[in-house]
Symmetry: D2
Subunit: 141 residues, 4 copies
């Protein structure tokens, strides 16, 4: 399993007149967590795009249990549980301290610059493999 | 069934560096279609809030088949197929001309100003009933 | 003078917890009005980009007199008063019925795909000239 | 002078099809810097709202020198140079490492819950005074 987490502080801009975070913004937070996971793997998203690969969102969903509010400091956890094949599925959890506010999922595929679905690049698979091993037996730093 | 549709023209702000619409923006378009449906029913969302009722999003999802681009003129169709009980489920389709670009779903519940889940108000149920009848036997205008 | 106007209906997503429209969203409305002006001139922005030209924002400002609210139907007026030289300046007014809610200004320059500032293309200047003449002596349609 | 700075990492969602950050997003970053300054002063914005005070944006502007890109780590510096009277003016600078990408300004006034302009509250003025003194003769911690 690949996993990472990131801190997000709720921006005023992300709230709506109901006084809570507008639901679509959770998907931007999921994006931030994915970017962090790719960084942690040693395979930053920007370097994938520099190699002519894109990782668009094919589907996404979220379930909201409790609203997030302005200035909340949230923790967004991302997990990729299955081996990344052509379709990659990432799960998300949004916490305020110990409280689970929302869960979500996105699916992705690697796309070439020409817009064709391609297999995950070797670099990505290799880094994913190394990252998983590190996760199981963490290196002392 | 309750149904409405709305035209959306893609804003530059809604695109991202992939050259396509950022996925989270579809949920804003779904919102626009919901607002239009409530208008068409004769039960504008603003009037619900004035009555102290809110209709937050409990869950949402979208599946993306083909990307939308800047300046596209899209048609967003919303349908509520089930009788609205405590939980209301709305389905969405996004078209560019005849091409289906994306589908989606949101679920909602009526919330009181105190944040308690309540049954749909009489006004809403009545207007929904009338709207469905009009849909089945459209009035000649 | 080049001028156009566009209707905007305030989206729930554009509001914030103060119950009013978040200020940054006015700049997106200004964009919509600019796009409309280029359309009305017969020189759509998309066609400029297809010719390898971009019209980025060099500076922008807005003054807010009265807040806009969810579901308001606003009229956004854009005017280019000076002859478009290398730097193009557009002014904006946002109205709710007769009430002026906000004014603004953006400046732009044409940029080549290589990121160099270039003079406005002939097509643009020609269309601007024709549009101004039409404005002064409107064609009966 | 009151001053603070904050790190911002550019989100994919903040880019547009020109491959750069959409200009309106700088105003959200300015907001983040303001919030940070109020925190640093010991007068968090949320506590002001809890006291029934709002600090809406009366005007805003930005000048863009060089574009920001996805994944850039930016430093946003905010400064309030004048003594805060009824109208409060904040200046901003956005840096990528040593390069100044953009400057900006916002003006604000304190508003009561009834929407009336009021003088800055004592708490705010006191904290501002203490913060300025600390700035001139920093306390060893």
């Amino acid at each position: 399993m690949l996993s990472a987490s990131v801190e997000v502080r709720v921006r005023y801009e992300e709230t709506d007149k109901m006084g809570i975070v507008y639901h679509a913004n959770y998907f931007t937070w999921f994006e931030i967590a994915r970017i962090e996971l790719l960084d942690a793997m040693g395979c930053p998203y920007l370097s994938l795009e520099e190699d002519g690969l894109y990782l668009p969102v094919l589907s996404c969903k979220a379930d909201f249990r409790s609203p997030a509010h302005f200035d909340d400091r949230l923790r967004v956890v991302v997990k990729i549980e299955d081996s990344p094949l052509v379709r990659i599925r990432a799960g998300y959890e949004v916490f305020r301290e110990e409280q689970l506010l929302a869960t979500g999922e996105t699916t992705h595929a690697f796309l070439s610059a020409e817009g064709k679905v391609v297999r995950p690049p070797e670099k990505f698979l290799e880094k994913a493999g190394e990252f998983e091993k590190r996760g199981q037996a963490p290196v002392v730093e």
